[in-house]
Structures are given as C-alpha cells and as structure tokens.
C-alpha cells in the first residue's frame, strides 16, 4: 500500500507540510517497508484550483491515503471521488507520520479540515 504524506523536504526526516494543495512535495511511502518515492507538487505554479490539481496528481500516483496538516474543500472532494482517505492534523516528521498511520493512531477525516485558500501565503 502507498500513502501520500505532504512534505517540506525530500526525505523521511523532513517536516510534514501543513498544507495539502500548496505542499512542496508529496512523499509516497510504503508504511511496511518505509520505502518511498518523491513527487514534486506540479500544481504549485498554478494560480488557482491548486488543491484539485494536487489531488489529481496524488490519485494518479496511486495513493490510498493522504496524511497532511490541512486539506481544503475542493481538494477533499476530489480526493474522496478518487477513493483516497484523508487524515489531517498530522505534524512532525514524515517518518513519524507514517509510523502513526501504521500503528493505527490516525483518524480519517469525514470533511475538509480548512476553508478554500487557507494555504495561500502561509509558507512556514
């Protein structure tokens, strides 16, 4: 199984990016083996609809779940339509997030965790 964790860097020790649509990277992690693959967020350069495009990229990459800080309504709707489960409120390192997921400590979201555009201009 592959899960997608939004990340500020390209390693397992990088910090989880608190935003979904405007995350720098998506790390596709296999929680069993901790092997991973790095995807640059291709939607970052777009002016609008970023969450939707990012969701499309994650769905196409075959992720079954997204672990992130916050996920807006358009991205959430798209991920849901693509059969991807969203876990928001995730922080710390990518590795910690993957371990928490594997241990079953995360709860899946039933709705978007933030308003549209919440990730704009909030680079941390």
């Amino acid at each position: 199984m592959k899960i997608c964790i939004t990340s500020q860097g390209q390693t397992l020790d990088a910090t989880v990016d608190p935003r979904f649509g405007r995350a720098a990277y998506f790390l596709l992690v296999d929680p069993e083996s901790m092997s991973f693959e790095v995807l640059a967020n291709q939607a970052l350069s777009l002016g609008g609809g970023v969450g939707i495009q990012a969701a499309k990229q994650v769905i196409d990459a075959g992720a079954e779940a997204v672990l992130t800080g916050n996920c807006g309504p358009n991205a959430f709707q798209t991920l849901q339509a693509g059969g991807v489960t969203v876990y928001s409120g995730v922080s710390g390192s990518v590795r910690q997030a993957a371990e928490a997921f594997k241990a079953g400590r995360l709860t899946a979201d039933v709705q978007a965790s933030s308003d549209a555009h919440s990730g704009m201009d909030r680079r941390q």
């Binding site: 939607a43 777009l46 002016g47 609008g48 609809g49 970023v50 969450g51 939707i52 495009q53 969701a55 499309k56 769905i59 358009n74 709707q77 798209t78 339509a81 693509g82």
Partner: protein, 287 residues
C-alpha cells in the same frame, strides 16, 4: 469633450462619497435639462438606487457558461482536466468533477473533448436592472452572493450604455479588476477622497491606477474641512486639479442617513455639482 461624455466616480478608499457625488451629479444634470444615465457599477453593493429611487422596469440575468459532462459519452481521456488552468474540471477515470466557482468560462474543455461529452450550461452570476428615476435612466448591476464574477457583471451593466446621454458611472472602490472593468474606457475619472491619512494613502494608489490607464482625471474632496491639508498639498505637487470640495456639513450627513438626495434636501449645494460638470467638460479634452 464629447457632448455626452462618460464620467466615472471612483476612489481608492471605500466610503469616501462616490455614490453621494455620482447620484447628486446625475440628478443636478438631469434637473438642468440634460439627458443623463446613471450606471451603478459597484455591483457588490450597488446603493445609488437608495438615493435615486428608480422604479426598475427590466431585470435581466447575467449568465456565464460552465461545463456540464455527459458521463455516457466520456471515455476518461482526461484532456479536459489537463487543459484547465484553474482546476475547474478534473477527470478521474470514469468520473469527472466540475467546480463551477473556479471556472473562467473559456470553453476550452468543451473544445478539446474528443467525444463531445462536455456541453455548456448557463450559470447565473448576477442581474442587471434598469428603470427611470425622474428623467434619469438608471442601470444597476448586482452580483449574486457567493459569485466571484464581479467584472463579468460590471461589463454586462456597461453594455447598457447610451450614446445619447451623459453617463455617470458609480465605480467600485479599489484599484483592481472591478474598477478597471467599470472605468477603463471612460472619458473622465473623478477620484473621490477625504482629507485624512487614509484618504491620502488610497488616493495615491488610485492616481497611480488612472495614470496607468491614461485617462483624464480630477479629485473630489469630501468632508473637505476635516483632517489636514496633505491631500491638497499632494494634489498641488502632482499638478492634479481639485474639482469639488464638499464641506463637512452635519445637514448633509443627516440627509444621507435618511436616504435623501443632498441637492433635494439642501438645494444650495446644487450649483456646486453643475460647476463640477463644467470643470470636467473644460478639462476632459486636455491632458
């Protein structure tokens, strides 16, 4: 200047008296026997009608086209989603999601679909109303709540422009897309401000905008005897004409608060607006 010029009343800062100036200018000109059209282009909060009290005779929806997908015809090629720069349509295999609020109505997805699975659906984003207030032809645009298509509604409002009347445009505040949509092609722009640090700050932004548009313009100072003289100083330094100064008269505020026309409640202010028009006429053809 043209016999029937279009004059936009704009401002950087909101609440500086754009509507007060626009409606009283329109009313004074009409009373003097001129043919006048008042166009409320402040479509997010049109309120000139509160003062002019027109009886609107027509009401026309402002429609834009957004995609609608027939999934029976869709082959899931994903070309629509790849084309759209706004994420307004996204193809997930046999499922296609559309986000109408993000759509810019370019029609690209409809064109690129190889199986004609996407067709245009009309979406209402606002209305344009028109009617008479005395002899003033009033047009007003109103944006639907929740819609972001402000310039679309403004352009649709402007389409009602009459070539045989002086057009007074009540522009939206600010310096971005809405005011540009309302006033980019007018014959003259009057910038309303107030003599405060806020008024001065936003006047400078508005002057930058109107200079970039290359339009003749002048300044109107509302409540001219409050605050300080820095707006006047700025205008002098920048060689900008101050064409109107409305004093801080409690009686004006009272008539405003009752939704009355200033020049009806206080007729001695009427010549001031006719004088303003003469000033605009004499300057408009210059610069």
């Amino acid at each position: 200047m043209k016999p029937f010029p279009s004059i936009a009343v704009a401002s950087g800062k909101g609440g500086t008296g754009k509507t007060t100036i626009a409606v009283n200018l329109a009313w004074a000109l009409s009373k003097s026997g001129r043919r006048v059209q008042y166009m409320d282009c402040d479509v997010e909060e049109p309120n000139g009608a509160i003062f002019l009290k027109p009886s609107f005779q027509s009401k026309e929806p402002v429609l834009v086209e957004v995609p609608q997908v027939n999934l029976d015809k869709c082959i899931g090629c994903g070309k629509c989603g790849q084309l759209c720069q706004y994420g307004a349509i996204v193809s997930l295999g046999k499922q296609v999601l559309t986000f109408e609020a993000l759509c810019h109505s370019c029609g690209g997805c409809i064109q690129i679909c190889p199986t004609e699975a996407i067709t245009a659906k009309q979406l209402e984003v606002g209305v344009v109303e028109q009617g008479m207030a005395g002899a003033v032809d009033c047009v007003q645009g109103l944006l639907q709540i929740g819609s972001v298509r402000t310039p679309t509604v403004i352009r649709q409002t402007r389409k009602r422009s009459r070539a045989d009347a002086i057009r007074i445009l009540d522009a939206p505040p600010g310096t971005s897309c809405p005011v540009i949509a309302a006033a980019r092609d007018v014959d003259f722009m009057l910038l309303a401000t107030e003599p405060t640090p806020f008024g001065l700050h936003d006047l400078k932004l508005a002057v930058g905008m109107v200079r970039q548009l290359g339009l003749p313009f002048g300044v109107a100072i509302n409540r001219s005897d409050i605050g300080d003289d820095r707006v006047v100083q700025y205008c002098r330094e920048e060689n900008i004409d101050i064409l109107l100064q409305i004093p801080d008269d409690r009686k004006i505020a009272e008539s405003y608060s009752r939704g009355e026309m200033m020049i009806e409640a206080l007729p001695h202010y009427e010549p001031m607006f006719l004088q303003l028009y003469e000033s605009i006429q004499s300057r408009g053809s210059g610069r």
